[in-house]
């Protein structure tokens, strides 16, 4: 896969993540009910784990996806490393959140699972981009 293709895939995935995080952020601040097939979205959103250091988790997601999207626009080794670090970090944090939903909150938010899936797919793309850099001239 060329760097251009990888950047396009990473950008598309980060944009999808932005939409999901944006919807959950909107629902939180507008007080709107969340369209939810599992019936657990509001339980999760209203649990004590829905904020981290005073920041709602969907807002954290917005910032994370926006930063990953920005790295997809940049062609530099620093952007590749930052993209991979963010994707891996988000993947680990998402895994923690899934465990919380299943074991502690006892409710599952399907929008969160969609975001988890996006993050999971982002990881191999950002790592491929990082390894592909070795075969290109330095920038």
């Amino acid at each position: 896969l060329s760097d251009g293709t990888l950047r396009f895939c990473i950008g598309a995935l980060a944009s999808a993540g932005l939409l999901v995080a944006g919807y959950l952020t909107y629902a939180r601040y507008a007080g709107a009910s969340i369209t939810c097939t599992t019936g657990g979205c509001e339980t999760v959103q209203e649990s004590s784990y829905a904020t981290v250091a005073g920041m709602p988790v969907p807002v954290l997601g917005l910032l994370g996806y926006a930063t990953v999207l920005a790295t997809a626009f940049l062609v530099s080794d620093a952007a590749r490393s930052a993209g991979a670090a963010l994707a891996l970090g988000a993947f680990a944090f998402s895994a923690y959140l899934v465990i919380l939903q299943l074991a502690v909150i006892d409710a599952v938010c399907d929008w969160c699972l969609v975001s988890d899936a996006i993050v999971t797919v982002l990881v191999p793309f950002t790592l491929l981009r990082l390894s592909a850099a070795d075969r290109r001239p330095a920038r």
């Binding site: 507008a30 007080g31 709107a32 009910s33 969340i34 369209t35 939810c36 097939t37 019936g39 657990g40 979205c41 509001e42 339980t43 209203e46 649990s47 004590s48 784990y49 904020t51 981290v52 250091a53 005073g54 954290l60 080794d77 620093a78 590749r80 490393s81 930052a82 991979a84 670090a85 963010l86 994707a87 891996l88 970090g89 988000a90 993947f91 680990a92 944090f93 923690y96 006892d106 790592l127 990082l130 390894s131 850099a133 070795d134 330095a138 920038r139």
Partner: protein, 236 residues
Amino acid sequence: MKSWLRGPRAFALAGVLALLIAGALVAASLTGSSDGQAAPEPPAALDSTETSRLLEGVPQNGTVLGRPDAPVTLVEYGDLQCPYCSAWTHEALPVLVDEYVRPGKLRIEFRGMAFIGPESETGLRAALAAGEQDKLWHVVDLLYRNQGHENSGWLTDETLRLVGSSVEGLDVDRMLDRRGGMSAALEESRASAAAAGIDGTPSFQVGPTGGRLRRVPIESLDAGALRPAIDALLAH
């Protein structure tokens, strides 16, 4: 010249940064949640002044608030542990009661959901049992006004007794005894919500009384979110 940020060094740096990011987030999450998990406090004596003012003189029949011959029906799907439902009850319900229910234009039907947890069902059974004494709306309003953190152990028999004793004319023992007989009503609410595609609370349906109800998505928790749908039916 080869950049230093390549090869194993780049992977190591990404890995370390990822660990730092995830570690900081998990630590902040765990610290924040333990701060927020204070032991549930039983509510102090309840002030039922607002509830009494809201519902005084408004007819109730089972789950319905308002005159039976009101031309328009609003159905509220709510979970007694849902904070947004509580906010709606504070902000929108008093306005709707004053503008539409008291003048006999609107009747509001409460269809309880119990999806947040077992305490939702505990409260809902009591509210439905109070409905047999035409006091469901008093119990629902008082529970929303004194709502605790979901599934924290706030909605106990003690809470229900406190709520019940704040409602004038309600036989509290009878309400508590009758809770077991509310399974059919609970199932009816659940089936009606499923048929209407209700997947969150609060959710609303509006329609001509006795006619077909349609779901009204709300953008905010104030009365303005439902006014256009109600006014359109009244103008019809």
